[in-house]
């Protein structure tokens, strides 16, 4: 097993803090779409630089059996996030998919390359999905991540019925893709569920 270094800064920190990870992705094959305007280099401000490019193969997102040699798949993106940290450039890579549900566009993020400085620790890391709503234009990328504290409150107050497990660091959504999509379609436009948008500018 290769050595990995934990990067909890910038976008990674954003993902870690502002999202509730999901064991299952938000998409199925039939929901995936592509948009050429997504590709390119984007300035995410404090969250660093985002480099998005199309993958020419289908990544296997099974965390137990990573396989990057699958046949070509035209609907996957590679997201590389680069951030400056104490003079060093740190990076992480994600497999990203764009999908449409109920007329709204979403991005599904799944970590593919990141480093953990403790090999034994890396064996216990759960790779999970995160999502955001997205609005793409020629020069900007508007991302709306979901409000984790609100979701956590709903779960704590027994006001939302979604399969999940609790762990020391928070909550892992275990609902199947079908349920995730239904929630997104029904409540994906509710203000309480969404954080204020992050706007990325094309470089």
């Amino acid at each position: 097993m290769k050595a990995r270094t934990v990067l909890i800064i910038g976008f990674l920190a954003l993902l870690a803090a502002s999202c509730i990870p999901s064991l299952f992705p938000l998409y199925t094959e039939k929901d995936l779409v592509t948009d050429d305007r997504l590709t390119g280099t984007w300035d995410a401000g404090d969250d660093g630089i985002w480099i998005i490019e199309r993958l020419d193969f289908k990544p296997n997102t099974n965390p137990l059996n990573p396989d990057w040699t699958s046949p070509a798949e035209q609907k996957s993106y590679r997201l590389k996030v680069m951030e400056q940290h104490e003079g060093d450039t740190l990076s992480a890579e994600f497999v990203m998919h764009m999908l449409v549900l109920g007329g709204r566009y979403y991005l599904n993020y799944f970590p593919s390359e990141y480093t953990l400085d403790h090999e034994f620790l890396s064996w216990f890391m759960i790779e999970a999905n995160n999502f955001s709503r997205v609005t793409v234009s020629q020069d900007s990328l508007v991302l709306n991540f979901f409000n984790p504290s609100y979701l956590r409150t709903l779960i704590d107050q027994n006001r939302i019925r979604i399969a999940h497990i609790r762990h020391d660091n928070g909550i892992l959504i275990t609902a199947p893709t079908r349920d995730l999509q239904k929630f997104m379609v029904k409540y994906g436009n509710e203000k309480d569920f969404l954080l204020s948008p992050d706007i990325l500018k094309r470089i």
Binding site: R159, I160, R161, A163, I165, R178, F183, K186
Partner: protein, 352 residues
Amino acid sequence: MRTETFKKYFLRLAGNRILQHIIFWTASYLFLLKFFSTSNHLEKIDYIYTALFHLSLVAAVYINLWILIPRVLRKGRYLVYFLCLIALIYLSAAFNQLTFNHLVDLVLPGYYFISYYEITDILKFVFVYVALTSLLKLSKGWFLLTQAEKQLMAIRQEKVETELKALKSQINPHFLFNSLNNIYSLSLSNSGNAPAAILKLSELMRYMLYESNVERIPLKQELRFMDNYIELQRLRSDKRSRIEYSKKGSPAGKSIAPLLFLPFIENAFKHGIKGDPSGGYVQIRLAILKGNVDLYVENNRGKVDRVEKDEFNGIGLSNVKRRLELIYPGKYELDIQEGQKNFSVRIKLDLT
């Protein structure tokens, strides 16, 4: 005592229809609550979800039980019922989805539910509930029908027994009057047979009053009664009268409805010997073979008999015919031959 009280109390509770429904839905709620739970421990949201899920099930079940079954199925409109049932199941599943997709937001604002099951899954849920409750309803109906049939049978049986008792109560005075008439005849002629006749009558009356009040009596006992009766008739008959009485076969192990043959024998003596005391005859042949008993009675038609009206004769024969119908339906043959000079009756009974 305490067990009996508890049993009575339990049966009363079990028979309470509202309680049955409450028990059914409570069991259903607890079962689905566990079935739907998304984690090891139940949350308040699971209780609410399970209750909401039941709305469509309850609606489907009671529309079927209270409207479709009594108004359509019970009237034999099976195709209409089948179509209505399909529509009901589909509408109920659609109502389930409507509940979680829209109604729940109006009823419980601030709560977040989705319809977790696809329409095909919900259709299966509703189908199972409707089918299960229909079967319970129909089996209960069948049970009640069986009970009603049993009650009806009991009432019929009681009616038959009452009728039989009434018929026997008509036979007994008939026999008594005839026997007293016979003894009266003996006493008029100062016959020395009168005391013996009274004794025989006493034995016969004992049999009729105390021993024949049962549904079946051993054939042997009934034949002894017949022997006594015929002997009684011999005592009072003219010496010139011909009385032939023969028996074949063993009565052991066989039983028969009491006093069934008496009216035929009684009538033979009354209308044969009495009708022509100087040259009358009575022929009685009884044969027992396997499970059957075959009685043949023949007598002459007396001169007096043709001119006298005898209302008791009509009652005796019609009574025995009615008794045969009630006690041995389809298991007897009765052949009555009425000639110019004689009268014969053949009765064959299947005693098995």
